[in-house]
């Protein structure tokens, strides 16, 4: 378990995550209706979309937590949902996830949280792991909080610890589930800064699910906009800024009315009230 059998080559620009014709159906609801997406090494892709657009479902499918009804997810060239358990384990060590609330293990200290992937997936000695934990915590600015329990730190700090843990194995790919949610602008800015510096300094590829436009424009190389289970717009950050596409404009400017409706009912209002 210490050295990989084959050293994966890292070509900049290669497609490391591909979503092909992805369909997800829950009961009688089609949440994803044929999504196609490619993420290249070294880029930061921002996935935008309103509530109910399917962006959380897309994220869950990409990280292997949800099985699609149709289509496939190719992670580092392997079909994530057809691979064997051992293969999936290997793949999972190559990417990290920052969950919305940090998802720290509440029975362990901050330091133990960050150490866990190292203890489980490497043969490193305990004192080396201790050093690496300090390095990861230093990266997110929380080196002094190593011995505290998650219940003793704030929401923003939990997210930063979550990021440190996601970085423990030096992953090539990182997923962020609404990293700015519930954070004050300063802490949100800190996280954005981290995302960008990870990309610049370590060549980490990032897929960020968010709907905070300010943050999105700060960090994105490319963006996709999801609506009703489909990608309705795709392009560089600059493309989006200049776009005249009504979907894009409505989302970027936060307009309450436009092609993305606030109210969607199967029955008309009048009929529903008076029948």
């Amino acid at each position: 378990m210490s050295t990989p059998e084959r050293r994966p080559t890292r070509t900049p620009g290669e497609v490391i995550l591909a979503v092909e014709d992805l369909r997800v159906v829950f009961g009688d609801r089609e949440v994803l209706r044929g999504v196609n997406l490619e993420v290249r090494r070294g880029e930061t892709l921002v996935s935008l979309g309103g509530s109910g657009s399917g962006k959380s479902t897309l994220l869950r499918t990409m990280i292997g937590a949800l099985e699609p009804t149709g289509g496939r997810v190719l992670l580092f060239g392997e079909d994530l949902h057809q691979a064997s358990e051992a293969e999936v384990d290997h793949l999972r060590r190559r990417f990290g996830i920052l969950f919305q609330s940090g998802a720290l293990f509440n029975s362990m200290t901050v330091g133990e949280n960050v150490a866990l992937p190292l203890e489980e997936h490497t043969d490193l000695a305990a004192d080396i792991i201790r050093i690496m934990v300090k390095m990861k915590l230093e990266l997110v600015g929380l080196r002094d909080f190593e011995d505290l329990m998650p219940a003793q730190i704030s929401g923003g700090m939990k997210k930063r610890v979550g990021l440190a843990r996601a970085l423990a194995l030096d992953p090539e790919l990182l997923f962020y589930d609404e990293p700015g949610a519930g954070l004050d602008p300063i802490v949100a800015g800190v996280i954005d800064e981290l995302i960008t510096s990870l990309q610049k300094k370590l060549g980490v590829t990032s897929v960020v699910v968010t709907h905070e436009m300010g943050s999105a424009f700060r960090i994105a190389d490319r963006m996709v906009l999801l609506f009703d289970g489909r990608i309705v717009a795709e392009g560089t950050a600059e493309d989006f800024r200049q776009s005249t596409d009504p979907y894009v404009r409505q989302f970027i400017l936060g307009e309450p009315d436009g092609p993305i409706p606030l109210r969607r009912s199967r029955v008309s209002y009048e009929r529903d009230l008076f029948d």
Partner: protein, 264 residues
Amino acid sequence: MSTILVQSGRRLIDLFAYLGGMASLLYDSLWWVTIGPFRRRGAIRRRESVFQAYRLGVASLGINALVIFFVGMILTFQSAYVLETFGVVEYVADMMSIAMFREMGPLITAMVMTGFGGAAIAAEIGTMVVSEEVLALETGALHPVRFLVVPRLLAAMYVMPIIYVVASYLGVLGGFTVAWAFLDIEPIRYFHRTTESLIARDVIAGVLKAEAFGVLITLIACHEGLRVTGGAEGVGRATTNSVVRSIVAIIVCDLIFTAIFYFL
């Protein structure tokens, strides 16, 4: 009439699905205790198991002791009530030892454990599901069964026989208190009869029951916890389900074991 059939049919299918889920969980747990470590996919988390055993055993011992002591006293009174009419009050000692070690020991221990162990485990794991901790484990290639279920299962298997033996003795002691204080049975006679009537088979039967009950409680609790959907309400439901289903499972299992041991 057909609706009743449809309903019962559905219930039966749900039951089989539930049992299937439990069997699957048991299989996975056993895999992680035997083949998993062998294939270097991940070691048993020993420290965590010991920690869980401590929580389970130490937390429940006090209440267990109290309840079973009282049960011992109650049973002795009730038995004496009947035995008096045959003039053989001192047989109370025999009855108590056998009843405690064969039945009341495992059963009362299991019932208390359902609250302390079962409910707590279901609530804890359920909360972890809601807060995405379990998802974080899973997507970090840290298998939830290995991390959460196996330590608790091993803990229950270590702890149940110990608590059972301690509890059974305390139950007998409760009986002794009543026998001495209210039934005018000499202490020496009581203990003599107790040790005479108790045979190894009784204790083995009790230990096997206690182990089985422990496994049932833990598996049901973990299963309920891992299946939680829908936030705090879901966790509450899982906790309640865990207790109720454990009680039913324990009683059914108890009947089966008791019948088997009767004929063996």
